[in-house]
């Protein structure tokens, strides 16, 4: 079912007209209220009044994750704090996290878009939604929650973790829709099996999965293991949270981006040049209705392509392909964003460690694992095992503390980490996604 038939099936010309009007208003607003944008626009010689067509958006400077960090915590907010009713933040960074804010109207918009997304993913008023996305600073849990209520469905705010209890709830409460990360879902399936509970006997019809990269293979695995239809959802807190784009269950072929609220572009990640529909590049978003935290040409670093081909579901909004990679070296490990440079700075804090390290990411029993290999230099070597093991434990603890992700630290012999053109290969990702 289409939750907002008027807006989700707008003819593309009408959609473009709405976008242009909203984009102009947004650019004028940020120019007037956010010094960061004023300076950036001025430097680039761009004036919001000079925007005549949607194509003029190309002249507007990009915003990056670093820009958001530089303006930590509230520098990018376009309204006074008195008008902000909710704050979320990205987790798992050594530098400043990214802080985002919402006005009451933003929360309304988000709930509407998330209701649209759940509806596109197969949910309706009669459904019971088992929401296993984490509740808290992370946008996943609360984002889905408000959308589920807006839709009129019944939501079980179970959040992440406590897996055995989740299985009991699934058995007893009879949820029909599951919302979770794909890797946690596979873990749920395994624990259920251990407990002698078969998903085939549960009431689930649809699963709406996102917040981490997954593949068509994994879709097959999930659909088989859970006896459901698995739908892909996309979002990021900088742009709003979950519900920026959703696959419709009818086609399961690309994610509709809610274009009456966001303008997506694909750019060449190296030159920054905008690319036409159909070409693969980095996804860039401009929000056109957000009040507290508008983003202008925000570079997501996610690699995908866009298609305006009509969809069998009736929605006219552009579809993005499943995200196929990143234009930077960021890893997503159990939902936590990890940059190799963050691990490096933790290792450097322990002065004995020279920065020859390698991150090995695997998926064991459907959960991501991170191993940090560190070459043993003479200064940290000891003839005593307990000192070496203590060093491994300390580094592992520090990584958990600063990045929020569990890692196994493994000391290795010097020069054992493969180098390519003299540079150590920093990341080996063995996950089949």
């Amino acid at each position: 079912m289409i939750f907002n038939i008027d807006f989700e099936t707008l003819p593309r010309e009408a959609l473009a007209a709405i976008q242009l009007k909203r984009l102009k208003a947004t650019l004028e607003k940020v120019y007037a209220t956010v010094p960061f944008y004023k300076n950036k626009f001025d430097e680039a010689g761009f004036s919001p009044s000079g925007l005549k067509t949607l194509a003029d958006l190309e002249r507007v400077p990009f915003t990056t994750k670093q820009d958001l960090r530089d303006n930590y915590p509230y520098g990018m907010f376009a309204v006074p704090m008195a008008n902000v009713v909710r704050i979320h933040a990205s987790s798992g960074t050594t530098g400043s996290p990214t802080v985002v804010g919402y006005t009451a109207r933003d929360i309304e918009t988000w709930a509407e878009l998330m209701a649209r997304a759940l509806s596109a993913g197969g949910a309706g008023r009669r459904d019971i939604i088992h929401n296993a996305y984490g509740y808290g600073l992370f946008t996943g849990g609360l984002g889905v929650h408000y959308g589920a209520e807006k839709l009129g469905a019944s939501v079980i705010p179970v959040s992440g973790g406590n897996t055995k209890r989740q299985i009991v709830i699934m058995k007893d409460f009879g949820p029909t829709i599951l919302t979770a990360t794909p890797s946690y879902t596979l873990h749920l399936a395994e624990v259920a099996k251990e407990m002698g509970v078969s998903f085939k006997d549960l009431s689930f019809k649809f699963g709406i999965f996102g917040a981490e990269p997954w593949s068509e293979n994994m879709r097959g695995e999930l659909e088989e293991a859970l006896n459901i239809k698995a739908v892909d959802i996309y979002g990021l807190s900088e742009v709003m949270g979950p519900g920026v784009a959703i696959e419709c269950y009818e086609a399961q072929n690309g994610l509709h981006i809610f274009e009456d609220h966001f303008i997506p572009e694909i750019i060449d990640p190296v030159t920054g040049k905008a690319l036409p529909y159909g070409e693969t590049g980095e996804l860039v978003f401009t929000s056109i209705t957000k009040e507290a935290f508008p983003v202008i040409r925000y570079r997501t670093r996610d690699i995908t392509s866009l298609s305006t081909e009509p969809c069998i579901c009736g929605r006219t909004h552009v579809r993005m392909k499943r995200v196929s990679g990143r234009s930077d070296d960021m890893l997503i490990i159990r939902g936590v964003n990890v940059f190799p440079s963050q691990i490096e700075s933790v290792l450097m804090k322990t002065e004995e460690v020279e920065p020859h390290y390698q991150l090995v990411v695997d998926r064991v029993d459907n959960l991501d694992t991170l191993t940090v290999k560190v070459e043993v230099s003479e200064s940290l070597f000891s003839d005593e095992i307990k000192i070496l093991q203590g060093l491994e434990a300390k580094l592992s603890h520090d990584i958990k503390e600063y990045l929020g992700v569990s890692a196994k630290v493994k000391l290795v012999e010097p020069k054992s980490i493969a180098r390519s053109e003299g540079k150590a290969v920093r990341v080996i990702d063995n996950r089949k996604i």
């Binding site: 043993v376 003479e378 070597f381 000891s382 003839d383 005593e384 070496l388 000391l411 012999e413």
Partner: protein
Amino acid sequence: MKVTQISIFLENTGGRIAEATSILAKADINIRAMSLADTTDFGVLRLIVSDVDKAETALKAQGFTVGKTNVVAVQVEDKPGGLNAILQILAQADINVEYIYALLKEGHNAVMIFRFDNTDNALKVLEANNIKIFKGEDVYSF
């Protein structure tokens, strides 16, 4: 009265010890004693060799991480209670032993390598109790 031990960091992969010993063989170095401490991931090979400097240079040249540690070579009577007698003396003096391994037998006595957390204190206590300690040169080439 200290003996220099060299230690090598080894990953737990097949043939790694043999690689270290072949380097020593090629450099014409005799291994007087050895002990291997291991965990699931890595091990530390500790060696008393005939030529410490030469062994260190040869191993480092092949990319091994090599450490040098002062240990003590102690004469232990080769009879029941021989080792116990020495450990009792150390325990009473509150001296911690990190690890022990055997060198070789010399007549009716064994020679054992002791690694202490405080080598100087341990030496004082052992000497005060008339326990025979060997010099480095003696141990490298009996």
